[in-house]
């Protein structure tokens, strides 16, 4: 499949061309060149997907480079957590309910897909509410939901736990692997040799948390962030807004996606998150190591719905496979094709690293749309 840059009427070719011309002018004024480009990082897998799918990197004027950040929650799940999840699923009492996205992520022994083939009772569901339905229908079994994702999906699992509590469903629990966006961005900003000039902010995470949590990026790190929508024109407009800030020498948190993202986020969603979850001291990420306060766990008040306590998981730290450079890709240090395994040992069919698993992962997106062409994105 090849990328199709803005050809449909919906994507409004003229506006796109005009925006690209204005981006070109800004880059020129900034003195950005192919060798010394302005580097903007998107931290949402949806943006990574959109940028590749529409070939946005290819149509950018010279002097602008996209860095693909750690915004795909499936891609950053560490092997140790997959191993725990497989171990829970292999308990004969258990029905493990999971989003389909998580099925192929490699663990150190096996993926959930392999565990299912080996006889574990694993069900793919659309919603955590479906896991509750499974619990109601199978009162003699333990139903465990594999909860993952950034703040976009966090309210849904929190509300499911609250619903289980209200209905007194005792055979439901949550294996909580939720992560939060701002410590992740902070880890990128704190990494040695950090080369990010600005951030394209995640659209749907921001719909939940609002703009305030990003302030430290502007205030402490002097980098701009623009929350962006997923249409090609949204991304182009956000790029222009970021370049405009850089040109004016300011760093602000701006909102290009105001039609979906309210300034203060969604209060009901925030209340549900705060009621059920608390910040963990640290959480292990695939490729990035441990990041302080980047994950959440279930509060003591809801301990009986916590699969981690019910099944005493071990969460061992498992080293990433030899030669795997997912961490460097996630931090923007190297491009996917610079990993020695890319396209050889590591392909979407046989992923070694998690960035090759989901279509929102930089390596899989690059493999699908950029082929092996160096610099295609």
């Amino acid at each position: 499949m090849t990328a199709t840059p803005m050809t449909t009427p919906f994507h409004d070719r003229d506006t796109g061309q005009r925006l690209l011309a204005r981006i070109g002018e800004k880059l020129h004024a900034l003195g950005a060149t192919e060798r010394a480009p302005i580097r903007l990082m998107e931290v949402c897998g949806g943006h990574t997907h959109a940028i590749f799918r529409h070939g946005l990197a290819g149509v950018m004027p010279p002097g602008m480079e996209f860095l693909h950040g750690p915004g795909c929650p499936v891609c950053v799940l560490p092997m140790g957590r997959i191993d725990d999840c497989v171990a829970i699923a292999e308990d004969p009492r258990v029905i493990l309910a999971t989003f389909g996205d998580a099925m192929r992520v490699p663990g150190s022994r096996k993926s959930l897909l392999q565990a299912k083939a080996d006889g574990a009772d694993i069900r793919m569901v659309y919603s955590p509410l479906d896991a509750l339905t499974l619990a109601r229908r199978n009162p003699d079994r333990e139903v465990v939901f594999f909860g993952l994702g950034f703040e976009t999906t966090m309210p849904s699992t929190a509300l499911t736990v609250l619903r289980a509590e209200r209905e007194g469903i005792a055979n439901f629990s949550l294996f909580c692997n939720h992560i939060t966006i701002t410590p992740t961005i902070k880890a990128v900003l704190d990494s040695p040799g950090m080369a990010v000039d600005g951030f394209i902010g995640p659209g749907h995470v921001s719909m939940v948390i609002g703009l305030r949590p990003y302030r430290f990026i502007a205030e402490r790190y002097d980098r701009p962030l623009v929350v962006a929508g997923f249409e090609p024109l949204d991304v182009l407009q956000s790029v222009w807004m970021l370049l405009d800030q850089i040109g004016r020498g300011v760093a602000l948190i701006e909102n290009q996606y105001g039609r979906i993202v309210p300034e203060d986020g969604n209060p009901q969603a925030q209340a549900a998150i705060a009621e059920v979850f608390e910040t963990r001291a640290f959480f292990e990420w695939r490729g990035l190591g441990s990041i302080d306060e980047s994950g959440v766990a279930i509060r003591d008040r809801y301990a009986r719905f916590d699969a981690e306590r019910r099944f005493a998981v071990r969460s061992p730290t498992v080293a990433d496979p030899d030669g795997c450079r997912c961490g460097d890709v996630l931090k923007g240090g190297i491009k996917p094709w610079q990993c020695g395994l890319f396209g050889g040992a590591c392909t979407p069919e046989t992923p070694v690293g998690a960035l090759m698993v989901s279509s929102e992962g930089a390596c899989a997106a690059h493999h699908q749309y950029g082929g092996l062409r160096k610099g295609a994105a």
């Binding site: 509300l159 749907h204 979906i260 009901q268």
Partner: protein, 92 residues
């Protein structure tokens, strides 16, 4: 999972449980509307409104043009079928 899909709230399934039926391109499913329900207001106020649905939860109210635009984007990036298939998935 992260992109969600727009649909229209067509019926109140269970007001006490904050569940409403949402229609996404002809596929119907009961969705949790806690995050979009105005506290204190009757749930019926949501009838006919468009909403962005993530993993079975209505996460924001949007206008009809935005909903159609979002569906078009999802189709364009090849995600609409996957999102819709997921939305249509019934519990095994």
């Amino acid at each position: 999972m992260c992109l969600g899909i727009p649909g229209r709230i067509v019926a109140i399934a269970d007001a006490d449980a904050l569940l409403a039926t949402v229609d996404v391109s002809g596929v119907r499913r009961d969705v949790d509307v806690t995050c979009v329900a105005e506290p204190g207001a009757p749930l019926e106020d949501l009838l006919g409104r468009w909403t962005l649905v993530h993993v079975g939860f209505a996460m924001s109210l949007i206008d009809e043009d935005e909903a159609k635009a979002t569906l078009a984007i999802l189709a364009e990036i090849g995600e609409a079928d996957a999102e819709l298939a997921a939305f249509a998935t019934e519990v095994e």
